[in-house]
Symmetry: C2
Subunit: 217 residues, 2 copies
């Protein structure tokens, strides 16, 4: 008898953000529209503006949720283990939200989670003897490796397992005289001299070793 109620306060900022992350994870951030998001929430696009200032503010909120997922360093444990754990966690989180890395490197986030990450990462380093200047350097070196590696990983059109097959397939298309080293590199991959695979943790450890030596001096 009761007609279906239409305004049943179904919307909340948390539900909006969670749903938009879900949609972005599935279809990419470019495919996320205020209208599409609203549709998913059984509401009109305009309703969203009662909870969020605009699309950009929504994206900031989405990033906050992603950054919270990163395992934070324990301030008073050995910095190398903690930096390693944080970087590995960042990779896992950013691979599970493939839209996030591109946005994280495109803006300076001043949200609570992002500031907390900086605070606690810096904290772990200075507690372990880094100066603030050194901690800034270390944090950036690690972040650059993580972001750079993951962006490549996300954008690369071929899976590591298929490198060899892909090299064999595309070798004839590489102009040997124009790009001799590209050609030679592809040959190495085909012949198995080099697998072409970059290992995330190997590069990470190179950086951590470099930092260790650097602050030691």
């Amino acid at each position: 008898m009761a007609t279906p109620k239409r305004q049943q306060r179904t919307l909340s900022i948390d539900r909006i953000v969670a749903t938009s992350i879900e949609l972005a994870d599935r279809h990419g951030l470019d495919a996320l529209s205020m209208r599409g998001l609203a549709g998913r929430l059984d509401v009109t696009a305009m309703s969203l503006y009662n909870h969020v200032a605009n699309k950009d503010a929504l994206i900031d909120l989405m990033l906050e949720v992603v950054v919270v997922e990163i395992v934070a360093p324990d301030i008073d444990k050995p910095w190398r283990d903690m930096m390693r754990r944080r970087a590995i966690s960042m990779r896992k989180v950013l691979l599970s939200h493939p839209w996030a890395a591109r946005i994280l490197v495109s803006r300076i986030s001043l949200g609570d989670a992002a500031v907390r990450d900086i605070d606690v990462t810096t904290g772990c380093l200075v507690t372990n003897g880094f100066t603030y200047a050194q901690a800034d350097w270390a944090r950036n070196a690690i972040n650059n490796h993580v972001y750079g590696f993951i962006l490549q990983e996300l954008n690369f059109p071929v899976e590591p397992n298929d490198y060899r097959a892909a090299a064999a397939q595309y070798l004839p298309a590489i102009d040997q005289h124009k790009f001799p080293f590209m050609y030679a590199g592809a040959l190495e991959i085909i012949e198995g001299t080099y697998d072409g695979i970059l290992n995330f943790e190997f590069g990470l450890d190179l950086i951590l070793e470099g930092l260790e030596r650097w602050i030691g001096t």
Copy 2:
């Protein structure tokens, strides 16, 4: 007597790309629309599609022009000098086209200029004794530093010269109990113990030294 001709073959792919770069440099890539670009060229938006497949293809062409501006390594000169020169050139180029870095890290470019950069950079390294595996690592380490540094530089809301004033201004807004290291770091900047400035070439040299030591073993 002659009525003004309307189809005077004013358009060319080069003119389209050059104008779109000019507009993106000035107003940002987000403000670049096919319609706006066409207007700048005194033509309707649809005319552009006679010269370029779509907006994405146009952006690829824009990137090519940017990448060409980067000073390429000389294959048979000392790798450290060449990598240094290339990185410094990349920074200059990417700062003069502030929209470009964000896009470069968001896709794998297979354009001629991008492939040439990989080829010649790899070439310089292997000619100087790197294996292909080591060259891949080195190239990525350098690129990650350059991109990471520049993206921070482009996005950071405060000029290095204003760090101290900004720190003084925002210190009261930092919750000392919530973010103690952030607070302490800001204090160091205010007191002049640390200027907060990251030096591009210093970080670059740390990486180059690390690479030197790494391939030496």
